[in-house]
């Protein structure tokens, strides 16, 4: 902690009079009373994330439909603000893979459920690479539990061309050993904070639901098919490359006004097919917590039946009209510290469940789940009134 002398060397030299020292000390004491409330940082992170996201996808652009297939499972993925922390962590632990950044963007600062895969080293480490039209996907890690499978991978573009490391994405299909498709359940990506100059790649993860498997095997054999990979290419002065296995789209969201870089760019989508097969043990740890609380707001009654807590997330089962159309926040009050931590939650319309990216597997204590009826794409309210707030305790 710097002393007052080191903070104000221009005002307090070794000859400073006592009254000078006193007024500087008083001014310093006054200034330190202005500490930001706890929620300022959280709301600012969210605002920056929203700004980043809105800069990525222009609603005015006639964007391809595949852009909508990614997302959900957001949780402040963007990570952004924590790069300083990432940098510190990287320095302390050595190389931090891009996929670890995607899974756990702010380790030790804001813990998420999905981030537990990294912080608790869950699942299996893999190194399987496949190429689609010169784009490369490398699967680095896989984790499976009773609810979902999470696969982490890096993506990079063909060499000899200039790629924006923040915009790679892939379309994939996951199948089990019987050939049944595991539904897409979310995903996110992050850019590279340290490797972008030498390795133009980004880290992603995708989650797939697997509740349809009954009974669950001990070891899950999976087949991941890559149908397409996309990236944003920075164009130089020479004529752009054109290849038969690539399609091109106007990159209106990555233009000169974008924080992602100036200059002409284009979206490139590479078509092809690549298959990766691998196995992952199923983590069967689950806490099923009965809740059975009903809350009525705006004339709508919602019943929270139970919470299923896995090592990487918490899922709440809801009953009631439109139960699948609610997004919310899960608040966790830590007893004895007057501290509240929040995680974003999103609804699964087809199951009437709310999934929260909260690491509650080892938590025992009071919980507040606040739900709002919002459209899952636009974020606009779909019902007046609310929110629906449930208080209960995790034993």
């Amino acid at each position: 902690m710097p002393t007052i002398d080191t903070r104000y060397p221009d005002l307090l030299d070794e000859h400073a009079a006592p009254d000078q020292r006193r007024i500087v000390s008083a001014m310093d004491a006054l200034a330190t009373t202005y500490a930001p409330p706890a929620d300022v940082r959280a709301s600012l992170v969210k605002a920056l994330r929203d700004r980043a996201a809105s800069g990525t996808v222009s609603t005015k652009a006639g964007r391809a439909s595949w852009l909508r297939t990614r997302s959900r499972r957001s949780v402040l993925l963007v990570a952004a603000m924590i790069a300083a922390v990432l940098a510190g962590t990287a320095a302390a632990t050595g190389v931090s893979p891009l996929t670890d950044q995607a899974l756990a963007p702010y380790p030790n600062v804001y813990e998420t459920g999905i981030g537990q895969i990294v912080t608790k080293d869950l699942g299996v480490h893999l190194s399987i690479s496949r190429s689609v039209c010169g784009f490369t996907m490398q699967v680095t890690r896989a984790y499976a539990n009773t609810h979902e499978v999470v696969v982490a991978y890096t993506l990079s573009g063909p060499s000899g061309r200039s790629w924006n490391p923040f915009f790679f994405s892939a379309s994939t299909t996951m199948r089990d050993a019987q050939g049944d498709v595991l539904p897409f359940a979310g995903g996110a990506s992050t850019g590279s904070s340290a490797l972008a100059t030498s390795t133009v790649a980004n880290g992603d993860y995708t989650a797939y639901a697997m509740s349809h498997l009954d009974p669950l095997p001990k070891i899950l054999t999976l087949r991941l098919t890559v149908q397409a990979v996309r990236g944003v290419e920075r164009l130089g002065t020479a004529s752009p490359v054109r290849r038969s296995c690539e399609a091109y789209f106007k990159a209106s969201s990555a233009g000169p006004t974008s924080p992602y870089g100036a200059g002409p760019t284009r979206w490139v989508q590479a078509h092809g097919a690549a298959i990766m097969t691998f196995s992952v043990p199923i983590d069967r740890r689950t806490r099923a917590i009965p809740v059975h609380r009903a809350v009525t707001a705006a004339g709508v009654t919602l019943t929270l039946d139970r919470a299923d807590v896995t090592p990487i997330g918490t899922q709440f089962s809801l009953q009631g009209a439109g139960a699948g159309s609610f997004d919310g926040k899960l608040s966790l009050g830590v007893v004895g510290h007057r501290k509240t931590t929040q995680w974003e939650c999103y609804s699964n319309a087809s199951h009437g469940t709310i999934s929260c990216d909260a690491p509650l597997y080892d938590y025992h204590g009071p919980v507040t789940l606040t739900l709002r009826a919002v459209h899952w794409v636009t974020g606009k309210p779909t019902l007046p009134g609310g929110p629906w707030t449930f208080h209960f305790t995790m034993p």
């Binding site: 903070r7 104000y8 221009d10 005002l11 009254d19 006193r22 007024i23 500087v24 001014m27 310093d28 004491a29 006054l30 200034a31 009373t33 202005y34 500490a35 409330p37 706890a38 300022v40 709301s43 600012l44 920056l48 700004r51 980043a52 996201a53 809105s54 990525t56 996808v57 852009l67 990614r70 997302s71 959900r72 957001s74 993925l77 963007v78 990570a79 952004a80 603000m81 790069a83 300083a84 990432l86 940098a87 320095a91 923040f166 994405s169 992050t190 850019g191 590279s192 904070s193 340290a194 490797l195 100059t197 980004n202 924080p259 992602y260 870089g261 100036a262 510290h337 999103y346 899952w376």
Partner: protein
């Protein structure tokens, strides 16, 4: 739900200036927007809290500052030692607009830590400090706005004299002299309260 992606985690190279020690660098030796955010969030908020009318205004303005800074960071061409001046010029402009809209001149408002107590000890200490500093707050409120701004930039935002000079557009010598004069005036009246 929009496509989720990352903010640009690397944008510009760090110089080896003294200020670089204050901003965490990534492994590749670059200053990231996130590092700037981490380094200056508390100072920006504190300054805005001292200079605006309420906790809510300070929080709102802080958000506007960092959103605007985020938009402009990729175009910022200065060295990392110029980041404080760049950032606080944004702060200053937004604060001016805020005052124009709200016609408020509330400054150095009372923001005891007791409003956000974390422990009983913190409440006691906060209240005691609050009591002790009331005369100083009153003196500050009586100063001219530009003098209040100068003191807030030095003590709350913790900017150095060269950084303050860059923010307010004056020479270092003039800034230093004005700061000295303001402190002398405060000193004189502060002792009168003893």
């Amino acid at each position: 739900m929009p496509v989720i992606t990352a903010l640009p985690l690397r944008t510009r190279a760090a110089s080896t200036g003294e200020e670089a020690h204050h901003i965490p660098e990534s492994r590749a030796g670059v200053i990231t927007f996130e590092a700037v955010y981490e380094c200056y969030l508390d100072r920006v908020y504190a300054y805005l809290r001292a200079r605006s009318g309420s906790v809510e205004d300070a929080a709102d303005l802080t958000q506007q500052v960092f959103l605007q800074a985020f938009e402009g960071f990729s175009r910022f061409r200065g060295g990392d030692d110029q980041i404080p001046a760049w950032l606080f010029r944004i702060v200053r402009n937004l604060l001016s607009n805020h005052w124009r809209r709200h016609r408020a001149t509330v400054t150095w408002d009372v923001v005891p830590e007791a409003l956000q107590p974390r422990t009983e000890y913190a409440v006691d200490v906060g209240l005691l400090r609050h009591e002790a500093l009331l005369p100083l707050r009153a003196l500050l409120r009586a100063l001219k706005p530009n003098t209040q701004e100068l003191l807030a930039l030095r003590f709350v935002a913790q900017l150095t004299v060269p950084e303050i000079a860059a923010v307010i557009g004056k020479s270092e010598a003039a800034t230093s002299k004005q700061l000295s004069r303001a402190l002398s005036r405060l000193k004189e009246h502060y002792h009168a309260h003893d």
